[in-house]
Amino acid sequence: MDVVIFRRKLRNGLIFFALVVGAVFMLFPFLWMLFVSLKKTGHGFLLDFAFAKPFFANFKAVWNNPSFPFSRFFLNSLIVATSGAFLTALFCSMGGYVFAKKDFYLKELVFWMMLATLMVPGMMYMVPQFAIVTKLGWINTYKGMIIPHVANVFGLFLLRQHMETIPNSLLDSAKIDGASEWQIFRTIIVPLSLPVITTVFLLTFLFQWTNFLWQLVVNTPDSAKLTLPVGLALFKGQYSTEWTKLMAASAFSIIPIAVLFIAAQRFFIEGLTAGAVKE
């Protein structure tokens, strides 16, 4: 009996140890970023404990630097990521509803053709998209950064798959209760798909928040609409890089994502596992 308990404890201990190692491995870059962001200028890559004075000097310097409008970048990123994620979640929900619950000519073919576009690398679209955005005069605008990425086939696929599991009788019932198509969408479909919609919102937010290349392409260096990833790149000078300030700015940049994920963690996990089991 004792041997059995010992073995169980040993097994649990080993699992716990493996998880701790995994967690440290995953957390190390974050901890290193925080560590460096608190150090004195020039000590970024030195294994010492020469911290900046005052302690949060790098953070203060980043936020209040007149030649480097960090708060502006932050706000731009927030606008682009939030509105991009909101519009994507909205359109994917509406599209998902139509593909899941409505019948129209060539529905399946259209859907699978859209899905097939996922196999084409995103970079392939960059040149034609840039040409269109330029033609529309959307360079250095929020529109140019947001709209080309609002159509999200993966989000559409995720929502369609989820919405197909919503029983048709609920929609029939709402119809008989007197609901219009829009009311059915707003009062039945959206609340029942909220975990998956949240997932699409978070994934899109994350994508837009960290999107560097497209936002570099559609902004000129003097643009007032530069976002954080592009702004952070400005820290990397031609001859030197202020690592301590770069890390402080990076630490700032992960705050919204961390807050969003912690707040919506439950929905996010529900969304990713939705439909995995029959309830």
Binding site: P167, L170, D172, S173, I176, D177, G178, T187
Partner: protein, 369 residues
């Protein structure tokens, strides 16, 4: 309050699949009409056509005095109870009940009054602040009923509402729905595949098969005078026995000889004059299990017209006993008193109640009269 009239209503799906065809049905005001039939017979399609959830391919549908062919479901003033309850899972019971009223812009005080009234009738007033997942099957069904009655519609539609409940609760809810109908006096159309539900609940029964109506009548007439072999076999439990026989005229009467071989049963020509046209032909003879007696149990002395059969199995139900027998070419089920017990292999001499014999044409399956 309203009557529902279907004139030659058909629903044909793309590819020519028949949902329902040439449905002619007149459901009177306050009537409880049951559509019954096996899966795929078109009963649910007919109900969905009436609800406005399926477009009519051809024909005319009237609710009250209005032709509603082109009126959307929400404007037909009907309410529907679904098999899987279709309660909105993200709303509390109160919100489920209020949903339809809110959409129709009823004042909040009126909504609250109706919710309270409905909750009282269905005894769900203590459940108003719960979500559907916190309710049992029976409670969910009550809420689904509540959502229908709270609107005080012209017509109630029920789509197999008791199928998901266990047997005991089903019987209980059956009675409750009947009581509710008696109290509210609203025209109701009820779809089920369960012939017991149909028999016990309907003022009028519509038996359907393959998208067509087989017979419309009150429950007792349907049971006693089925117009087709299908209706005769579908209504009644255990089902009616069917025996293939050949009719031969002999000495002014008829002989019904089991086909291909077996017993010979004598039929007086004055009782069955309609068999004259079938002299020399095969027909299907039908007899309900309760209309078969045994010479021993029925204490019939010197019965001259009996059918010998061997016991294959029995199903003692307590108050009654179902005995499964075989003749030379047919299987027969007999319903007798619970105290009449038999053993496998026993030989019985069966006596048919001649007044309860049915004959069906082999080709058309229609009753020979």
């Amino acid at each position: 309050m309203a009557e529902v009239v279907l004139n030659n209503v058909s629903k044909i799906y793309p590819g020519g699949v028949i949902g329902c065809k040439d449905i002619n049905l007149h459901i009177k005001d306050k009537e409880f009409c049951v559509l019954v039939g096996p899966s795929g017979c078109g009963k649910s399609t007919t109900l969905r056509v009436i609800a406005g959830l399926e477009e009519i391919t051809s024909g005319e549908l009237k609710i009250g005095d209005t032709v509603v062919n082109n009126i959307p479901a929400k404007d037909r003033d009907i309410a529907m109870v679904f098999q899987n309850y279709a309660l909105y899972p993200h709303m509390k019971v109160r919100e489920n009940l209020a949903f339809g009223l809110k959409l129709r812009k009823y004042p909040p005080a009126e909504i609250e009054k109706r919710i309270q009234e409905t909750a009282k009738i269905l005894e769900i007033d203590h459940l108003l602040d719960r979500r559907p997942k916190a309710l049992s099957g029976g409670q969910r069904q009550r809420v689904a009923l509540g959502r229908a009655i709270v609107r005080k519609p012209k017509v109630f539609l029920f789509d197999e509402p008791l199928s998901n409940l266990d047997a005991k609760l089903r019987v209980q809810m059956r009675v409750e729905i009947k009581k509710l109908h008696a109290r509210l006096q609203i025209t109701s159309i009820y779809v089920t595949h369960d012939q017991v539900e149909a028999m016990t609940m309907g003022d009028k029964i519509v038996v359907m098969k393959d998208g067509f109506i087989q017979q419309i009548d009150d429950p007792i007439k349907i049971y006693e005078k089925p117009l087709t072999k299908f209706v005769a076999g579908f209504i009644g439990s255990p089902a009616m026995n069917f025996i293939s026989v050949k009719i031969t005229s002999r000495n002014g009467n008829f002989e019904a000889s089991e086909v291909p071989s077996g017993f010979v049963y004598m039929l007086k020509s004055e009782d069955f004059p309609f068999l004259r046209d079938y002299d020399g032909k095969e027909v299907v003879m039908g007899i309900r299990p309760e209309d078969i007696k045994d010479t021993i149990f029925a204490n019939i002395k010197d019965a001259e017209n009996t059918v010998p059969a061997v016991v294959e199995a029995e199903e003692p139900m307590g108050s009654e006993n179902y005995i499964h027998l075989t003749t030379q070419s047919s299987a027969i089920t007999m319903k007798t008193a619970g105290s009449n017990r038999v053993k496998m292999g026993d030989r019985l001499n069966l006596v048919f109640d001649r007044n309860k014999l049915h004959f069906f044409d082999r080709e058309t399956d229609r009753k020979i009269e």
